[in-house]
């Protein structure tokens, strides 16, 4: 079965430090991969997505993610975090972008920023 795993439930980083959030996928072929962010009390906002081509994907708010087929990973990175980045981050995957393809979400990683 297709799945998306986020191994870190909670991460704490200092403001200005770099960030990497891990995501591993289990799909037979190259999946379509997404990172979403959920700020407290809000819905989910799309940060970036990967479908094909360049394996380094740039997103909004200074985030990027790298697709690594050999490691079945799609980790999210940011070189310098801001206090406003404190939120919950979800990785999601789909087998394709056709029709009714469902997204499978990871369990999320909660990011805390300390001054």
């Amino acid at each position: 079965a297709q799945s998306v795993t986020q191994p870190d439930i909670h991460i704490t980083v200092s403001e200005g430090a770099s960030l990497e959030l891990r995501c591993n996928y289990s799909y037979g072929a190259t999946p379509y991969l997404f990172w979403y962010v959920q700020s407290p009390g809000q819905g989910l906002q799309l940060l970036l997505k990967y479908f094909s081509g360049d394996t380094l994907v740039q997103g909004i708010k200074g985030f990027e993610a790298e697709f690594k087929r050999s490691q079945s990973s799609f980790n999210l990175r940011k070189p310098s975090v801001h206090w406003s980045d404190a939120a919950e981050y979800f990785c999601a995957g789909a087998r394709s972008n056709f029709g009714n393809e469902k997204l499978t979400f990871g369990t999320g990683t909660r990011l805390t920023i300390i001054p």
Binding site: G43, L44, F105
Partner: protein, 121 residues
């Protein structure tokens, strides 16, 4: 900008009540989805709809039903609310590639509403 709205941000109901959660999108999206979000479990798909009057079960449909009479509106119904349905409910919508063709801009990127936090007492 895509806008997905949900009828209530917070809702408190009693066990056994019939509960309606409404979701409206303004982007002419074909697909609409209902998820519930619980700590440590992430988002789990309840039902989705790819066209008016069409629906398909997601991963956890038990205890829920849905209605889609108009393209822009997708309702989640709890026929008889129970305490284990206390949760955050998120609605999402997306275009359908099968209708609009493939390509980066027409992918099934899902856009989410703000959520409804439902408490069943």
């Amino acid at each position: 900008d895509v806008k997905v709205t949900q009828s209530s941000r917070y809702l408190v109901k009693r066990t056994g009540e019939k509960v309606f959660l409404e979701c409206v999108q303004d982007m002419d999206h074909e697909n609409m989805f209902w998820y519930r979000q619980d700590p440590g479990l992430g988002l789990r798909l309840i039902y989705f709809s790819y066209d008016v009057k069409m629906k398909e079960k997601g991963d956890i449909p038990e205890g829920y039903s849905v209605s889609r009479e108009k393209k822009e509106r997708f309702s989640l119904i709890l026929e008889s609310a129970s305490t284990n349905q206390t949760s955050m409910y998120l609605c999402a919508s997306s275009w359908s590639t099968s209708f609009r063709g493939s390509g980066i801009e027409s992918t099934d990127t899902q856009y989410f509403g703000p959520g409804t936090r439902l408490t069943v007492l």
